[in-house]
Symmetry: C2
Subunit: 211 residues, 2 copies
DNA sequence: GAAGAAGCGGAGATATTCACTCCGGTTAAC
DNA sequence: GTTAACCGGAGTGAATATCTCCGCTTCTTC
């Protein structure tokens, strides 16, 4: 495979990942190609139809999720810290938000997808279970709770706001969530601490610029 | 105004609210009319174009938000409980998720919208400030943090799952968030506590049914 | 309970958007 | 320098969405 072809493929997957997370699985494919910086024909060359693209996106996302979950387990002795590290990494990957969007549309029984789902879920379940065993995660907070809160936090917020600010806020809200799970006072939140005035000013400015 | 006309108007606003929260401001207007149980002509009779409908939805949402915020302040002596009551009520109204979606598209300078925004934000800011003053809300958790976490929790999760379960989970996650804010152990979470198997089983079933 | 005003529904013409293909030109690899 | 792989984007046809028109129905009032 030629080097530029591989680069284009990766850019397509990244663009599709971000756009599907934001707008759902029905995004215009032209838009995906444009965001990826390639022509529409290049998209169709790699992925014969929308389903193939979505399959590619979700397989990539599940695989990346599995990798960071397993790495987090290896690199941290403390079970809660391992879980926290996984959640932070997954957020950076911008991967979690896309998975449920695509599952809405894809065939879940399809073996390759089912296997990836299983592997990924198993790896993150191990983190949750370990934190439970160590008594660091409240017993009534389940696998689904953690996973879904990650989705909620990873989903790009709607509203007029620069993308990087949205992401900074997502990081901050993940820390807030972790602090809540941890129980104690927790550490600093970091990131933008916006009061009402600052928030209003910010959105107004963006609104004006894009109008 | 005739009684049936008023009822239809309310159903249109409710349908538009839910659908915009779920799919964004670009929803097909036919779909809105159908969900409201009225003909498409009835929609256009009330709202000459999409912008008018979105304006109606957001004004309604902001007004309802203001009302529950003010009522929460009145009915609760404890500042944190007042904030919690507001968040719970706002979640039930299914109103929070729609506001940022629409702000993305509407003219924020328009006086009526700006006034409603101001009034609504002021009322919820009062709740946050009071909880800060009483030392029940960590000082570094801002107005924007609380508001955005509400949006994150109120937004319907994507993925194959019955709507009422999604809503039960949203309630549960709000309680989880409140427990985190409160700091202590907090009360019971309530609602569906799903482990990995149950979650997988559930989505698989829905997936099969809708296929 | 009859008259009439207000309101309703949905078929269909029109506009818009989207998916997908084709081919002349470009670029990486050796 | 050659060649095979790869690329871009205009363009066509299909699908989808918007919005109007008008015959029918339902409330309200006296």
């Amino acid at each position: 495979m030629r080097a530029d072809a591989r680069r284009n493929l990766e850019q397509l997957l990244a663009a599709a990942r971000d756009l599907v997370a934001e707008k759902g699985p029905g995004v215009a494919l032209d838009e995906v190609a444009q965001r990826a910086g390639v022509g529409i024909a290049t998209l169709y060359r790699r992925f014969p139809d929308r389903t193939a693209l979505l399959r590619g996106v979700v397989l990539d996302a599940l695989e990346r999720t599995r990798v960071v979950a397993e790495r987090a387990a290896e690199e941290h002795d403390d079970a809660f810290e391992a879980l926290a590290a996984y959640l932070r990494d997954a957020l950076e990957l911008r991967v979690s938000a896309v998975i449920p969007q695509v599952l809405d549309v894809l065939d879940l029984e399809e073996p390759e997808v089912a296997a990836a789902r299983e592997a990924s879920a198993r790896a993150t379940e191990a983190l949750v279970d370990a934190a439970h065993r160590d008594g660091q995660l409240p017993a009534d907070v389940t696998f689904a709770d953690v996973g879904m809160m990650l989705v909620r936090i990873a989903r790009p917020l709607p509203g007029p706001m620069p993308d990087d600010l949205k992401h900074d806020l997502a990081r901050r809200h993940l820390e807030l969530f972790l602090r809540g799970l941890r129980g104690g006072d927790g550490g600093r939140l970091g990131g933008p601490a916006l009061d009402r005035r600052e928030l209003a000013e910010l959105t107004r400015e963006v609104d004006r610029r894009t109008r």
